[in-house]
Symmetry: C2
Subunit: 209 residues, 2 copies
DNA sequence: TAGATTGTTAATCGATTAACAATC
DNA sequence: TAGATTGTTAATCGATTAACAATC
């Protein structure tokens, strides 16, 4: 499955959860298409991939579909996440994920500022970066989030990899080098803003992501 | 030019600036390839697109290339940016962009919390959302950044569009509807984290973005 | 010149879209 | 049945990669 497809599944899940909260039982592909901005054919192909079948009469069952996507995306046991760098951005992410996904929870936060270590941030204890490798191993953490300044990112990535993390979400504006087996997703806010500024001036491409 | 290509140009510019700071005069495509993670052929094609030619003998001139990319990406007059939602994430972005890009500066911040309005955050005055449309028009703001909670995003987007913004960078986990002429880029942290978690477990695709 | 790099075209690859038979 | 929707294949589209002549 492609990176983009996984991203779309994640979006469908959010939309379906909202529908479920609103009391909807069933949904058609063209309705999900309207809400998500993707084509109806795209939606059908994606849902087919998760192994849940709809019916021409009723479309897709909302709650069953949420469950199927969960089966597909989530680890059955659950994956622990470590966040490194408890600045404004780090705290924003901690606040947002607090208690939201039991199967993908931020279970440890790290910083090297003694004013922050030992304290709790949005229900997550902040530990010293010096203890990171040990704690990642102990808590069997699988995913790391880097929210430190640019020139500390590589060092943090090395420690995460040393601890055994297999995926990294990197918010630092830096290209980090990791072994091939480790998956890295870069979220570079400068890049995103410059893209928006550019296409605000030029006639944009399709735009529906 | 494609969305991805613009993103790559933004990354090249950051890398080239770092090279210039380090005193480098020239750079070869394969060196930029190594640093960025893209292929050398890709780098050459991208640089060709901005209209700057290298030479087989010396490669590309670092400072000239930074300038050429700037000519291509940046508006000659400069574009103003408005940020809406001065929470942790909003403040992180304000701090990061403060004084960084003169041609793409955040010139106004908005919130509806009276505890925040009237104060300065990282050199940017926070105004009331009620004054947003007027101020966007007055300051000729071109780009909006949405860092408000999920269910306020559409309302904020409507106001940004009403003010005349042509591009929106949306950090809220919500699909916002805007007129076709407005370019929207969504940065959904949940989607990114779920992607990383998924590919941490499965053998990832190419991974070089 | 020889060797490496650039600019540019052709081939490949993958993802999206369109079309349509099967299904309720 | 008729009509709409789903599942699935074929056609299209675009971007990336590979190849190579031109250049220093």
């Amino acid at each position: 499955m492609s990176e983009r497809a996984v991203g779309r599944l994640s979006i469908y899940r959010r939309l379906l959860s909202e529908l479920a909260d609103g009391g909807s039982q069933n949904v058609y592909s063209h309705e999900l298409a309207k809400m998500s901005g993707f084509s109806a054919a795209q939606v059908r192909r994606d849902l087919m991939a998760v192994g849940y079948s709809g019916s021409p009469a009723k479309g897709y069952g909302v709650s069953e579909l949420v469950e199927s996507i969960g089966h597909y995306l989530d680890d059955p046991v659950g994956q622990g996440v470590a966040l490194v760098g408890v600045g404004n951005l780090g705290r924003a992410i901690l606040a947002y994920f607090s208690g939201r996904r039991p199967r993908l929870a931020i279970v440890a936060a790290f910083d090297n500022d003694p004013k922050k270590t030992g304290r709790d941030f949005h229900g997550c204890r902040c530990c010293d970066v010096a203890d990171m490798v040990t704690l990642i191993r102990k808590k069997r953490i699988d995913v790391g989030i880097i929210t430190v300044p640019q020139f500390e990112a590589q060092e943090v990535a090395d420690l995460l990899v040393k601890g055994g993390v297999r995926g990294i979400l990197n918010f630092a504006p830096a290209t980090i080098e990791v072994p091939e087996r480790v998956y890295v997703e870069n979220v570079d806010i400068t890049v995103s803003l410059e893209k928006v500024a550019f296409f605000a001036r030029h006639s944009r491409p399709s735009n529906a992501k």
